[in-house]
Symmetry: C2
Subunit: 558 residues, 2 copies
């Protein structure tokens, strides 16, 4: 039997014209602009009009640590939104925009899967409405302004060895990780070491996702530290005088994008910072807008709860004064078995021993969500080879723990496969009082904040700071940046900073080797282990299978 | 008195919804997609529907060699389109998309001026519908595929010293002209010299602008030569197997964009290759579409007739089987005086001596257009300080030469300032038979083709080929590329290859120092002098004045 691919399913389902979706959520005609027949940008004025209206109930979808087996978090997020609407709850889904790099590289697309997708999936996975390209342009315009400033006399006395602003591409391109620019003689600039990040790791992406309006984005852009003078005095975008031009380049992009799911559920897709190096959730404006336009909002945070959810709660929710009501933690039998020691090749075989061991990973994330004061539901996302015994085991385990669990089959059945999860999520919100609070106070020291995350979220014994990191912390304190939240950069595969330690590692320390200020975004990045900010392509990139057929339609996005 | 800026004028004039413009040119509802309220993309299926309909009359606007005084060619093109419509001739304007590099650098915008502009000018000058970003992404994805191919084992045996595919940015960024990539050790790629061009100089931009449909674009992309093996055997995109992915990245961008002028004249703006390094005119699809949707098409080619018009006629018109009916040659008193030796600071003073000398530049371009078998009209684009004596001189001179001349004031008066030009253009088409033919046959040798252009268009005595160029010509003949047209890369400021020799230089040779194959685009680039393929920013970039005001509107695009 031919199992239809995501793009086949997506192209068979009938989409509603975007004006119908806009009308469904009560947008007035001047409040949105069409981008093709099935995409729109929503004017920020909507937030003003709904200022006095209470926010809808915010549900955050997170997961166990991802494994190569896949956990289907985006799929559950979309499917839950579809199911909520089937039950008559006016729900808006809020998601991140996919980056072209992973699409062309490994993933081939990131917009849910099966019968729980956002559409038009081929647009969303390619250029969409151009937001990420606008961020690339702004990031690289800033780099050009910096190098031109130095070439034209360097009035700000930027030390070329201390420039921290990197160029970006929305691609996986390892050859650009470390480069030398400005070669070719005195007419071509000043030679210096440089490097490229993927666009979704840019501070401008983080700013874009945390700004509360256009003026706030402009202020944040002006605060970006691009480098230092020889005496370590920071040089900012405001010193260069280009915050206006950068804001201009982003003024359309900052409007959130409206699309729909395969069941015509409204979905707002906007912004997409990496969850390992940045904070990993869609824009604050998208979440706020969804909260005004729906009675419920279903949103997700990248990777596992140790990365995406931790940063959603400690950084985004705090800055944006969001009030999450419940969390859904996605797990799969397959992934839990990998966490318990099973090999990827053997995942089709029943393995209760591995499952029993691997479920400890889920347990740790449950503790983390509880520590934030939030009620939760486990979504056990069913895959075709899961045995009844395995599913029974997880369900019984949850019962023993006294937590709600729901078996979801949204990939195969769409919203119908998530009705039980939707009911449990709504009941949780109605019956359990969320008492959200961040895990640390901003006034604590930088070391303390990092220690709290490492101990409470990762389960580490403590944190080792390298001499470089200690020196940087001192410098940050001297610069008056100590009261910012921490954005941890850590491998997504493990609770520890070693990607090979799956399950629930015990007795380990976290090593913080470097700190980077993201003063525009408003956080300090603490880097642990080797976190790649520019991925590479695999031997057989997904791009090799991509094409356009005789009708002009996309092929090979899966 | 406050003279309103372009953006002030543009924001005061009432635009029609794009659906009204689409209806005006007879587009059916499924044949276009809105991009915001005032932009649309037109489906290529329109060309099929109108296949049997004869083409509208094609008018090409070109000019004398540009000077810092400005000649206003785009403004005349837009103003002529407006005037034609005022006279009841169904006319569509076809123009290039501006590049962000010059917008952020020197120009601050390129969409006509005064009361002869295309709108929404702030969108057109920023990201527009994302076409150039899509080309940037495709160009750089190809670069990443090349470096990844080498990193993963180099099955195609690409010689890293012979890679000719460069990365691009749609920015002015001199620090990227010469770079070294792949540094950092064995996990980061293979070190090699590289460099960035501005996106509009990319071969993909040229392909995009010369493709006749999606399948033709895919074929052209597959033929791109990315580098060579050690024995000089070319390695192409087809060898890497990524033509499908590149086509997919461009499948939306290839649809021409519909906007309007300040007088609601339909305008198709699509593609924008540089006219010094590439062929310098909007996409063939845009021109063809305009020819089906209007009884007249007014289009322009970049820089002076020696560059833009020569390549429009020898390359684009030949490949696309276009049949131009008349040419408008734009000149200004100011620019002619500069060609005659006047300094920029003294242009407000009457100077008939300089004018008499400088008009020889115009004379040469008239001869060129005649050599192509095309009738023409001179548009003398009036500036405020031009004296009656100076204008009389040019008019009398034209009368002596037996050629039509029209005084245009479209910047100040819009279409009203171009009614006389419009009448003369229509009369020229009605009364004078165009006998268009390219200046050389494709079967001539590469040297002969270049010699013909240098002698017939530039007025050179002959061409000097450097030993490197001679060697490359031999190599190109050996590769079977000898029958392609030539894309001359030359300074725009002079008929010669020395930018300082204004007016009509005599007794000079052209030096061809290098040839580059653009096999996908389907031409051979012959480089003379120093032609920059990545511009730099000035000391005070236009970006310093750009911003967004409290209403969210663009400021500082002029």
């Amino acid at each position: 039997m031919h199992v239809p691919t995501d793009i086949e399913i997506a192209s068979q389902v009938k989409k509603k014209p975007i004006k119908d979706i806009a009308a469904l959520i009560g947008l007035q005609e001047e409040e949105w602009e069409p981008y093709g027949k099935y995409k729109a940008k929503i004017n920020l004025s909507v937030l003003d009009r709904y200022k006095e209206q209470p926010d809808g109930n915010l549900i955050l979808v997170t997961s166990i640590n991802p494994t190569p087996a896949g956990e289907g978090k985006s799929t559950v997020t979309v499917g839950l939104g579809q199911a909520m609407n089937q039950l008559g709850h006016r729900t808006v889904v809020a998601l991140r925009e996919p980056s072209l790099g992973p699409t062309m590289g490994l993933k081939g697309g990131a917009s849910g899967g099966g019968y729980a997708q956002v559409v038009p999936m081929e647009d969303i996975n390619l250029h969409f409405t151009g937001d990420i390209h606008a961020i690339t342009a702004a990031n690289n315009a800033l780099a050009a302004f910096i190098d031109n400033h130095i070439y034209q006399g360097n009035e700000c006395h930027i030390d070329v060895r201390r420039i921290v602003w990197k160029r970006v591409m929305d691609l996986n391109d390892r050859a650009l990780r470390n480069v030398v620019v400005g070669l070719g003689g005195i007419k071509q600039g000043v030679p210096r070491e440089d490097g490229f990040n993927i666009t979704v790791a840019s501070e401008i992406m983080a700013i874009f996702c945390l700004a509360s309006d256009l003026a706030d984005m402009r202020r944040r852009l002006s605060r970006i530290v691009v480098g230092y003078q020889t005496d370590e005095t920071p040089v900012t975008v405001a010193d260069l005088g280009v915050e206006g031009a950068l804001t201009l380049l982003l003024k359309e992009a900052i409007m959130p994008n409206l699309v729909q799911t395969l069941e015509n559920t409204p979905a707002i897709i906007h912004g997409g910072p990496f969850a390992n190096i940045a904070h990993g959730c869609n824009s604050l404006l998208a979440t706020k807008m969804a909260s005004k336009l729906g009675d419920y909002v279903v949103t997700e945070a990248g990777f596992g709860a140790d990365l995406g959810a931790e940063k959603f709660l400690n950084i985004k929710a705090r800055m944006g004064e969001l009030d999450p009501k419940a969390v859904v933690i996605v797990a799969t039998v397959r992934a839990l078995k990998m966490h318990g020691g099973a090999e990827k090749a053997n995942l089709k075989e029943e393995n209760l021993v591995a499952l029993r061991e691997g479920i400890k990973n889920l347990k740790k994330h449950m503790e983390t969500i509880e520590a934030f004061g939030l009620p939760f539901v486990i979504a056990l996302n069913r895959f075709v080879h899961d045995t009844d015994e395995e599913i029974n085991f997880v369900q019984s385990w949850c019962k023993e723990q006294g937590v709600e669990v729901s078996l979801t089959e949204v990939w195969e059945k769409g919203g119908n496969g998530g009705l039980d999860l939707a009911e449990k999520a709504v009941q949780t919100i109605q019956n359990k009082q969320a008492k959200f609070m961040p895990l640390y106070e901003l006034e604590e020291t930088i070391e303390n904040k990092i220690n709290r995350i490492a101990q409470q979220v990762y389960g580490a014994n403590g944190v080792h700071f390298t001499p470089q990191a200690k020196e940087q912390i001192k410098q940050m304190e001297a610069n008056g940046w100590a009261n910012l939240p921490i954005c941890m950069a850590k491998t997504q595969y493990s609770l520890s900073d070693d990607p090979k330690r799956l399950g629930r590692p015990e007795t380990f320390d976290i090593t913080v080797r470097e700190l980077r200020p993201s003063i525009g975004a408003g956080f300090l990045v603490a880097l642990t282990g080797d976190v790649l900010t520019m991925p590479g392509l695999p031997k057989e990139p997904a791009a090799l299978k991509m094409d356009v057929n005789e009708n002009g339609d996309a092929v090979g996005l899966f």
